[in-house]
Amino acid sequence: MNVPAAKVDARPFVPPTGQAAAAKVLPLPAPRFDLRSRITSGLVAVSVRAVPPVLVIAVLLAVWQLLCSNAGATLPPPTKVVRDAWELISHPFFDNGGLDKGLFWHITASLQRVAVGYVLASIVGVALGTLVGQSIWAMRGLDPIFQVLRTVPPLAWLPLSLAAFRNGQPSAIFVIFITAIWPIIINTAVGVRNIPQDYRNVAAVLRLNHLEFFLKIMLPAAAPYIFTGLRIGIGLSWLAIVAAEMLIGGVGIGFFIWDAWNSSHISEIIVALVYVGLVGFLLDRIVAGVASIVTRGTAAN
């Protein structure tokens, strides 16, 4: 195939004369801080991210409105949800004592249970994962047990923990703990097992003791894996808490939803679901954000 020759500058090359030697240095114009173009480019960046989801949500709401507007609909359309539950949406902070509280307080109560269970699961999970990843015998002994236990659905643990603790609060925390711990253990173990032999050799030549090896080599090297486990764990915790609270009662978003169902306040359930979704999303983003800060330097080079 014949490629047409690109147009080249055919002018003969003129060697620079003596004048060129005395070249004058022209100062570059100082970069001006242009507020307007900054704002414009910022707005473009934001709208590229924000417009598609807003459009999709608008379409979904419209479809929902159409489907649920006729007389026989079992679920309320969005306009009715807002009208019915306006009190709930506009006053998240009210507290009339007992279970009659704003959604903010229900969410807070659920988050507290998740926090305790999840923190315990993180500590025990990283410790057990390290053990399983480091010791071949611990892995042979414990891994089959972990693989079986991790398939037990979270709620199946609830009756057993109620029997053991005889109290709703610790039972719910235990369910969170037992839900979140498996991905943390398994990912930590994989991370520890994947520490390059090179790093182990460096540690051996330096004669690092066990504690130094754990803190200076193992934790940083396995951090990306550990955070993968932590991120899966926080998602599962939030899934489990709603279900657990439905059964144990008391203040909490799970019981709020169950209570609304028993009182046939379907609109309130829908509002609560939106809250649950948003909080779950936020929790995931927080753990992902911490992970990206902590593991900034850990990427392989």
Binding site: D198, N201, A204, A299, N301
Partner: protein, 263 residues
């Protein structure tokens, strides 16, 4: 008595019921301040030999004596510069060296002395300008320099170099070889280097240890390199002694112990 002595070392790897002899009856004595290279085709067990000296691998029979004392576990007295630098990616250049300095001189140097010593060693390899960079931000040659600084900072009795320039381009490799020669000139340390580059071996070494092909490799021949130091790369290119040494190594590797390609 030799400073570092490899005494009748054999190494056998067992895989299930099959055993493979990698090294057989390898004996070598290295004097203090000597620069010794081990050269051989890939798979001849030279890295195994270095790992045994480093203490990272146990011997099957025989042992390693350093100043007449047996060494059988890793330690900072036999610092290694690894083939693929092995810097910790989450630490800066300074912190990578400081980790070694802090560990080795925990009780013998004060905090500020350790700081100065870290910088001194980075200076030695001309890397103090990048002390706050992470390994991912510097080039392969620079990483290898930092690896060298980390090893030197431990003040090892023997410096072990495991094909330290193998992964570098020719120009960078030449720069690093010059640096290693200059440092060896200043510190007069004892060096054991693994290489598969004939020119590198002749340029840097006082003696070249040539390994026979594996499996069951051993030392085939030891060639002294009687070139005066300091050596200059350009002058050597025409030196008859240099060319003769080079010829001897090439003959050994490509005529008498030609590498049989199993693949």
């Amino acid at each position: 008595m030799a400073y570092l002595k490899l005494d009748h070392i054999s190494k056998t790897f067992a895989r299930g019921s099959r055993t493979t002899a990698v090294l057989v009856d390898t004996t070598l004595a290295i004097e203090k301040g000597e620069f010794v290279s081990i050269i051989g085709h890939s798979g001849c067990g030279k890295t195994t030999l270095l790992n045994i000296v480093a203490g990272l691998l146990p011997t099957t029979t025989g042992g390693v004596l350093l100043e007449d004392r047996e060494v059988n576990e890793p330690g900072p007295d036999r610092a290694v510069v690894f083939q693929n630098h092995s810097l910790l990616p989450w630490l800066t250049v300074y912190e990578n060296v400081r980790l070694a300095v802090d560990k080795v001189f925990a009780s013998t140097k004060s905090r500020s002395e350790r700081h100065d010593w870290t910088l001194h060693n980075l200076d030695l390899v001309q890397m103090s300008h990048a002390k706050d960079k992470r390994p991912a931000e510097i080039s392969g040659g620079m990483k290898q320099r930092v690896g060298l600084a980390r090893a030197l900072s431990m003040e090892p009795k023997v410096l072990l170099l495991d094909e330290p320039f193998g992964a570098l381009d020719a120009l960078t490799r030449a720069h690093l070889q010059d640096s290693v020669m200059a440092i060896h000139q200043i510190l007069e340390n004892t060096v054991l280097m693994i290489t598969h580059d004939v020119d590198e071996a002749v340029l840097l070494s006082d003696r070249i240890v040539m390994m026979t092909n594996g499996p069951a490799a051993t030392i085939g021949e030891i060639l002294p390199v009687p070139l005066p130091r300091p050596r200059k790369r350009l002058e050597l290119a025409t030196s008859p002694t240099y060319l003769k040494c080079r010829q001897r190594v090439l003959e050994f590797l490509y005529e008498r112990h030609r590498f049989i390609d199993a693949a």
